[in-house]
Symmetry: C3
Subunit: 163 residues, 3 copies
């Protein structure tokens, strides 16, 4: 049984994956000013939980649908985080393509995120998956939408973090 | 020093990897009815521990060698899990090829699995590696055997889970 | 926005990644005698922390700059570990290329490492990234330097481990 996913050209998949990887390193570097630059305008960025998705509830923990909202978010985080420094480390598993057509690629990608506080304590911070719509053509490779689905519904107040 | 692994065609490796990825997402989705469809008939599915492998002990914690046993397993799990809902999230590292010839590819793949309970508690549930024999030709890409080698010997009774 | 990383030939990237993967499996297998064989001579192997890097402090927790030092390290570890057996499991995320020219590829790669003690206890042991300079040409694919940057500054005394 080979899967019946749409055939995606190797170079298209590689560029899409590169976008996800650059995004993850930017977040982990704390280089939040780069965060909005990974999205189209308008865009959709949402954080929700697996429980909500399972119940078909449209509620999101966070929702931004344009670049200005993303930049506001960055500013809020940078102010909030002054007193609580910590590091993140995302590890991505392979992506699974669910649709591909026109210049839009829809994929999901499992991830685990570890948080390390400055005193050295390490914590399994989040596990979940990204569901991404990536706009990809000769010039562009950006998230049109990124939905973060967290496995846990007990969400830390530091969720301010863009995942 | 380049490694002396057998040369595996890029498209063969990509299809094998796709099989592992689809398998992981099916398990994490709780879509257990798809689980047996990833195997040939007959097949071999085993869970064992690194300690046993190190001692050259052939004991397995679980062993299924045909599709009917896999389907029985799914039924048992679905009944057992009614009262204890939880989510799994597998993250795979790169695969390492150990043999390739005829239509059979032998690879191993490190993984980490995180479990999240419905109350939100997250747990590092398992770490280990898969040793897989994948039957792969123009029509087919399926596990002839999958051996799950867990690093920990303290195995949860919920091991009912197919890893 | 496509990233402006240098274009790296697909086969070059694949060989570099294979080096990292073989390295990780050798460590996780406890096959430490292979460890020095992944490096050029002379070479540079360093372990440091993200906090040190952030403060631009050149201090390393460990530094080896030739093969003899690496082999000494292996011997020390094998003696130290006799009384405290445990397993490691590394999971690598995708690599990000930062430079490529001549026969030298510079990349970084996020990782998580889980430690399992023989009594079965599992621990999130380390998270961080590798910054690697890989010497790669038709004959060779080896680390000229590997810098392990740990997210945590609270470093276990068993750090004897090559990461």
């Amino acid at each position: 049984m080979d899967t019946d996913i749409p055939a995606v050209r190797v170079d298209v998949m590689r560029r899409a994956r590169q976008l996800m990887v650059d995004y993850a390193y930017a977040i982990d570097d704390g280089d939040l000013k780069r965060w909005p630059t990974f999205f189209t305008e308008p865009c959709l960025y949402r954080i929700t939980t697996r429980e909500n998705v399972g119940k078909n509830m449209p509620l999101a923990i966070m929702l931004c649908d344009n670049q200005a909202m993303l930049y506001d978010r960055v500013e809020a985080i940078e102010q909030a985080n002054i007193f609580e420094p910590h590091y993140y480390r995302h590890v991505l598993s392979d992506s699974q393509v669910s649709a591909y057509g026109g210049n839009l690629l829809t994929v999901r990608t499992s991830f685990i995120c570890v948080r390390t506080m400055l005193d050295g304590a390490m914590l399994l911070f989040a596990a979940g998956c990204y569901v991404d719509e990536i706009e990809i053509d000769e010039q562009t490779c950006l998230f049109r939408s990124r939905t973060v689905i967290l496995d846990s519904s007990k969400v830390d107040t530091l969720i301010a973090l863009p995942f």
